[in-house]
């Protein structure tokens, strides 16, 4: 843990604590899930609803695919110096039947991963701005 002040990198997209969740929305008309949250109009073309409730999405998913990155991306990404490779995974949430991207926890390499592997949601430091740690959701292999 860190002594620095921490803020979410983006407000209202995920919860904090020991068992964090992504915050999505569910349509009151057709029950479809959305992440990020939908607030205006349901994107199911057969649904006329504009009414949503905020829901916590499943915090366990399975890996659809993944990739480790060896080059520093351009701004607006904020990278540590020296740059360290990071891994991104596309994760299927079985209950909500959707796929969400996220970085893997720091130190997880592509060689640690397989499609179909179970991962859980965590919240970890993404970058600092003015000595404040900005936190993001990430995925981490479920301990066997």
């Amino acid at each position: 843990m860190s002594d620095k002040n921490q803020v979410p990198a983006i407000e209202g997209w995920f919860t904090d604590g020991d068992a964090p969740h992504l915050l999505g929305s569910q349509c009151s008309g057709c029950s479809t899930f959305f992440f990020p949250k939908e607030s205006g109009y349901c994107r199911n073309p057969s649904c006329q609803s504009g009414d949503f409730k905020e829901v916590e999405l499943s915090r366990i998913g399975t890996i659809w695919s993944f990739s480790e990155h060896y080059y520093k991306p351009p701004a607006p990404y904020i990278a540590d110096e020296p740059f360290e490779p990071y891994t991104i995974a596309a994760v299927e949430l079985a209950e909500e039947k959707l796929v969400v991207l996220g970085q893997m926890a720091k130190g997880v390499s592509h060689s640690d991963l397989k499609a179909g592997m179970q991962v859980e949601l965590i919240v970890e430091r993404a970058y600092d701005i003015d000595d404040v740690e900005h936190m993001m959701w990430k995925w981490k292999p479920v301990a066997a």
Binding site: N44, S46, H69, Y77, A115
Partner: protein, 395 residues
């Protein structure tokens, strides 16, 4: 009703990295296409520009920018933006206007000047723009998506790094025979596999670069074309479809997919639906094609396209590649131009340049890379934010 229009002329500015104004490239391509068509600029009654978002206001209104540079002639104008699919959208704008009987001769132009390195989102803090957020929040670049699809093929179908490298080797052989290509070097398997890993499992030589370049086609009514050519190439189908809800494959620039919780996934996934719509319009199928130009943003992505445009079933693309079916001289050569592997991407010009290659192949003017007896060809491409793009040409 016959839905064909003629491609009376095709022209390009070679792809490269010169840093000149994009308008210069566009005018070279336009004049080449007009000359090829055997008509004058003043004969054009509609200019259809593909937009570039990296060259300021003149790029946003590229149709008018090109019209002014060629000399204001009073021609009607439109500019289309559909990311990588912009060229096909501009072609379709011209085609529909011709088919509606509202014009006879249309000039479709796309040109770009690109920055070095990764394509980055527009500047400024834009917390409601997924294209900005994906970079900021997780360093999700364009190659991220290409890599996720590539790794998925490895996990699902047993694709190998050698397969991906073999696509690059094949396309570099094609591109070496194309005077318009930026990269004319023939790569070996060892060179590709020895290049730096960028987004595992994809290496530097397997990810398309960003280039400067321009492409232009002159589209006309069949009636007009018959006065200038005995047997013009025809555009027989154009697809600019969007996905159907729920689209559950992760797509650039999104950080998530639709949910299939309450509506079943459509029978035909988005990328399959792109070519399907063009085939349907043309009344043709994959078995009728002599060649294909597909969007190989990465070497691995070309394999996905084999399946998406119906050249084989899902999981069979690697076999097609290994058997040499998609190389020049094979059953259905893919990316005879050299593809993005040899060109690098000049976004608004790329879908138009794919059509230029079909035109030259169908006329028998493709030189050392000629597909013998080519009768029909298909292009396929996809622009971020849900833009399908496919054009079928016949002769």
């Amino acid at each position: 009703m016959n839905k064909d229009v003629a491609v009376l002329g095709a022209g390009m500015h070679p792809w490269g990295k010169w840093g000149k104004n994009f308008v210069e490239y566009g005018i070279v391509a336009a004049n080449a296409a007009l000359k090829d068509a055997g008509i004058e600029w003043n004969d054009v009654d509609f200019v259809s520009g593909a937009e570039t978002v990296r060259n300021g206001y003149p790029g946003y209104v590229s149709g008018a920018t090109f019209a002014q540079a060629l000399g204001w002639s009073g021609a009607a104008v439109a500019t289309s933006y559909a990311a990588c699919a912009s060229g096909a959208t501009a072609i379709n704008a011209a085609r529909t206007r011709i088919l509606a009987g509202m014009c006879d001769v249309a000039l479709v132009i796309g040109a770009d000047t690109t920055p070095k390195g990764f394509l980055a989102p527009n500047a400024g803090e834009r917390w409601d723009d997924p294209d900005w957020l994906r970079f900021r929040l997780m360093g999700c670049t364009n190659p991220t998506y290409f890599a996720l699809y590539a790794r998925r093929r490895m996990e699902l179908y047993g694709a190998t790094e050698e397969d991906f490298a073999a696509v690059k080797v094949k396309n570099s052989k094609h591109g070496a025979k194309n005077p318009m290509a930026r990269y004319k070097k023939e790569f070996t398997m060892e060179e590709v596999l020895g290049s730096n890993m960028v987004a595992e499992p994809l290496r530097l030589f397997e990810i398309c670069a960003t280039s400067d370049g321009a492409a232009c086609v002159v589209l006309t009514s069949m009636e007009y074309a018959r006065k200038h050519s005995t047997n013009p190439v025809r555009v027989s189908g154009v697809s600019t479809v969007t996905p159907k809800f729920p689209s559950t494959v992760i797509e650039m620039p999104n950080m998530s997919t639709d949910s299939a919780y309450s509506v079943q996934v459509p029978d035909v996934p988005f990328r399959d639906s792109i070519a399907a719509a063009a085939y349907e319009e043309a009344g043709l199928g994959p078995e009728d094609m002599s060649l294909a130009e597909v969007y190989d943003l990465s070497s691995a992505l070309e394999l996905d396209w084999y399946e998406n445009i119906g050249l084989c079933k899902p999981g069979e693309a690697e076999r097609l590649l290994r058997d040499g079916d998609t190389a020049l001289g094979g059953r259905i050569p893919v990316n005879t131009s050299g593809g993005l592997a040899s060109f690098g991407e000049a976004v608004p010009a790329q879908a138009i340049s794919q059509v230029c290659e079909l035109v030259w192949q169908l006329r028998g003017q493709a030189g050392d890379r000629q597909v013998e007896g080519a009768k029909a060809g298909i292009t396929a491409n996809q622009g971020l934010f849900g833009h399908g793009s496919s054009v079928i040409c016949t002769r």
